[in-house]
Assembly symmetry: C2
């Protein structure tokens, strides 16, 4: 299915993050069937909490389109967006968000709240959750398991 | 008063935005009494909807501190933060937000909702609204009045 193909591209981005020791989250922006932006989380590398996968993918797409409006575009992201990324999605006028795993700690595309479909803001977008949810969740689970094992090893004499 | 001094610096940033034809919003980040980040809205200049004053000021502060955590820092912004900027404030662990004018259209630091003090997120921050509110609101009002007059003039033969 087409949407799984794009989510696999987001997973490729997540894998790039994992290789850099970053929390493995990836995103792609698609317009008319073409990937116009792609990125992965780079918080530790950039030492900047704003560099989430979605923000960087949106910025990449804006650069490619030479415009801040991404009307009609779709965002594929491996983890449900946080408040910052949900806000960025609304501001850039993205039409639809597909996400993989839900985020019970900070997800604001339906889990803790639904910022993407709050009629008080000047834009709303469609949401489709659960695309390759198991794979998107597994890469995060294994990353944190490895991190804990590494920390435990460092503590042992 | 100290907080008015910092809000005047945010207003200086807003004025820089106005001179560039950008919606005049400015922000500064303060740590231990020192301004460590400052910026103004640059959406049209950068053709990037993410370049709100707060985001750019936080990024400037992170660069100056060489860290993504801005613990203990205070953000002064002329307009109440939107969802994206509220999320960025939480992610960068800012301790307190002072804002000027309230934003009935997108304000999420108390007006439409209060993302900054939602106990479900892993960080909350203090909020003090209304610092130089009249001046912070007036620069926006006059900007939009001038913009409407300009558009009307362009339509006339």
């Amino acid at each position: 299915m087409q949407k799984e193909i794009y989510m696999r591209e987001a997973l490729i981005e997540a894998e790039k993050a994992r290789e850099k020791g970053e929390v493995p989250i990836g995103a792609v922006v698609v317009l008319n069937g073409e990937i116009i932006g792609r990125a992965h989380n780079l918080r530790e590398t950039t030492k900047n909490a704003i560099t989430h996968a979605e923000i960087l993918a949106i910025q990449d797409a804006c650069k490619n389109q030479d415009a801040w409006r991404l009307e009609g575009a779709e965002l594929y992201v491996t983890l449900e967006p946080c408040p910052m990324c949900s806000g960025a999605i609304l501001l850039s006028r993205i039409a639809k968000v597909y996400y993989g795993a839900a985020d019970p700690k900070a997800g604001t595309a339906g889990t803790l709240m639904n910022l993407l479909q709050d009629s008080r803001f000047n834009h709303q977008c469609e949401i489709e959750p659960g695309i390759l949810a198991d794979e998107c969740g597994a890469i995060l689970t294994s990353f944190f398991r490895d991190l804990r094992a590494k920390k435990k090893q460092q503590k042992e004499p």
